[in-house]
């Protein structure tokens, strides 16, 4: 968890806005360090976390706290890579989970994946005695663009994120964090681009319309720098009750072994 990011976003594990959809995106950069931040943030806030790990295996995210959380039932980790194998190479004894059935038949869409999310997020009423009471449910997805490269249609991914938002943010009043990655340059109206990039751009635009908070990570426009790893644009959509306008802020960041630091443009410790 990055304390500087918490102060930028004005949240803490003890008090955060509920019912929010946080979109993390990157363009020709890697924003997955933010997913690590949100994972440890919500685990520390004692929320019940459902993590769709489509890009990496569980070991990638596992710190001691995460492993403990998984054992206690606070963290439900859906390991996309493992489930893929069970669908693609079905063995006799393997009970294959339905969640990844879009691999065999992409037009089917992501309804089964949504059903999996629904079953993890809705807290069952008949809980065992002694089971711990966790806070609001949180859904973390890393990352949605993988679904595009697996052959799922952009519309199906947008429907999936819509249903997850309706379930997690509105019905259960929990939070949702999704990571989307774009490859190409930002184009204005070019229809001549190859289809792969256009798909992820349309997905990003669709998700931007749906989200409450957008963190967009990019490399520095001036090129590579040893001390500053990139810039992050924070965009707050209108929150309920606030005056209707959109607020944007730009920060630069540097990622360390055990954390990341964020600072205003031009105030990096290497410069000052």
């Amino acid at each position: 968890m990055f304390t500087e990011l918490n102060s930028i976003l004005n949240t803490s594990p003890d008090s955060f806005t509920r019912g929010e959809f946080i979109l993390v995106s990157d363009r020709q950069s890697d924003a997955s360090f933010l997913i690590h931040h949100f994972l440890s943030f919500y685990l520390r806030a004692r929320c019940k976390v459902c993590f769709l790990g489509l890009a990496q295996s569980f070991c990638h995210y596992s710190a001691v706290s995460q492993r403990l959380a998984k054992e206690k039932g606070q963290l439900v980790f859906f390991e996309g890579l493992k489930e893929c194998l069970s669908v693609l190479t079905p063995k006799e004894n393997n009970v294959e989970s339905e969640a990844m059935n879009f691999l065999r038949d992409p037009p089917v869409g992501l309804r089964s994946l949504y059903e999996f999310v629904r079953s993890s997020v809705i807290v069952s009423d008949n809980m065992e005695e002694g089971a711990e009471q966790w806070g609001p449910s949180v859904l973390l997805v890393d990352d949605l663009s993988v679904l595009l490269s697996l052959g799922v249609d952009v519309g199906a991914v947008l429907d999936f994120s819509h249903y997850c938002r309706a379930l997690v943010c509105s019905q259960v009043q929990g939070n949702m964090v999704m990571l989307v990655r774009c490859n190409g340059e930002e184009d204005d109206d070019d229809d001549d681009d190859d289809d792969g990039d256009v798909g992820s751009d349309v997905l990003l635009k669709g998700l931007t319309h749906q989200c409450n908070l957008h963190l967009h990570v990019q490399g520095l426009p001036t090129g590579y720098c040893k001390d500053i790893h990139g810039q992050m644009e924070v965009c707050w959509k209108r929150r309920q009750g606030d005056a209707p306008h959109m607020q944007k802020n730009l920060f630069q960041y540097k990622v360390y072994d055990k954390g990341a630091s964020f600072f205003a443009r031009g105030t990096s410790s290497a410069v000052l």
């Binding site: 947008l158 819509h162 109206d189 229809d191 309920q240 209707p244």
Partner: protein, 296 residues
């Protein structure tokens, strides 16, 4: 023109608010809803994009008698098995039934948030057909739709916007709370009027038109730049002293003729050379008979 539209949409009118990721048109949509509620109109909202609570947030609670929100947000595709309103129900019969259910005497205004959701699941021709039938049908007095232009191809956006009687494209303004609206209005006689205005929306969703974007501001306001002196800062001298300046001005150039010089050349006076010509016998050359000088 924006304030005229806010005061009322004519019968059979179809207004589209076009927005993009950079600026959401939902606040302007809510301003239209608020204005219509203040005019005691009945409003039906097809709510796809956002939840009912988020849409109602900020609208005055006393007006909810005439405001009917149809929740198509929780289950627009029927995944849960008991959907309230699905996207497949966007057709003339279903919508007419939906509006008639509330049994109000006046025909209602239908607000669609958003058209983009429907366009992702139904083909553009089907959507256009339904919209056109709704306008002519009579169950609905006017239609207002929100369209996210950056989520569709230009052809799709163009086709749907072609049906509209009024179009408002919103974009972020220069200063924080301001936004720019480009309004296009098509009247029944076929006349098209366009205008561009800067506006801002208050917390109670009243719209304040600030000013027209003054294009003069974009031109440089600075006075004409001073003429730069090309003879300054050189390693050689390009300047003329006073006597040199005088001599230069006195100099007459060889092929620049003043009026006097022209008349002197054209009308030679006495004393200038004269040319005397006495034709020789041999010079008598008859054009028609070139062999005239032959002594044959």
């Amino acid at each position: 023109m924006l304030s005229e539209l806010l005061q009322g949409i004519e019968s059979g009118g179809f207004l589209i608010i076009r927005d993009s990721c950079r600026y959401s048109g939902r606040d302007l949509l809510k301003s239209f809803i608020t204005a219509a509620l203040n005019r005691e109109e009945v409003i039906h909202i097809l709510c796809f994009d956002v939840s009912e609570e988020e849409l109602k947030d900020g609208l005055k609670p006393s007006d909810t008698q005439r405001l009917h929100i149809h929740n198509a947000y929780s289950d627009p595709l029927g995944w849960t098995g008991h959907p309230n309103f699905t996207v497949q129900q966007f057709s003339l019969e279903d919508l007419t039934n939906l509006v008639k259910q509330t049994s109000q005497p006046k025909p209602a205004v239908l607000v669609i948030d958003s058209l983009s959701w429907i366009l992702r699941h139904k083909t553009p021709p089907a959507v256009c057909q339904t919209l056109q039938q709704l306008r002519k049908g009579g169950a609905v007095r006017a239609v207002i739709g929100l369209l996210h232009t950056d989520m569709h191809q230009r052809g799709t956006v163009g086709s749907v916007c072609h049906l509209a009687t009024s179009l408002i494209s919103v974009a972020p303004g220069v200063k924080g709370k301001e936004a720019v609206a480009r309004v296009t209005k098509r009247s029944k006689s076929g006349k098209v009027m366009q205008d561009e205005e800067i506006f801002c929306i208050a917390e109670d969703f009243t719209v304040t038109i600030l000013s027209k974007p003054s294009h003069a501001e974009h031109k440089t306001n600075s006075t004409e730049e001073e003429q730069t002196d090309p003879t300054a800062n050189l390693t050689f001298n390009l300047r003329l002293s006073d006597s040199e300046l005088e001599a230069k001005q006195k100099l007459t150039l060889p092929f620049v003729f003043s009026k006097e010089k022209k008349t002197a050349l054209l009308h030679p006076g006495p004393g200038s050379g004269r040319i005397l010509y006495e034709p020789d016998a041999n010079d008598d050359y008859d054009q028609e008979d070139p062999d005239d000088d032959l002594d044959v």
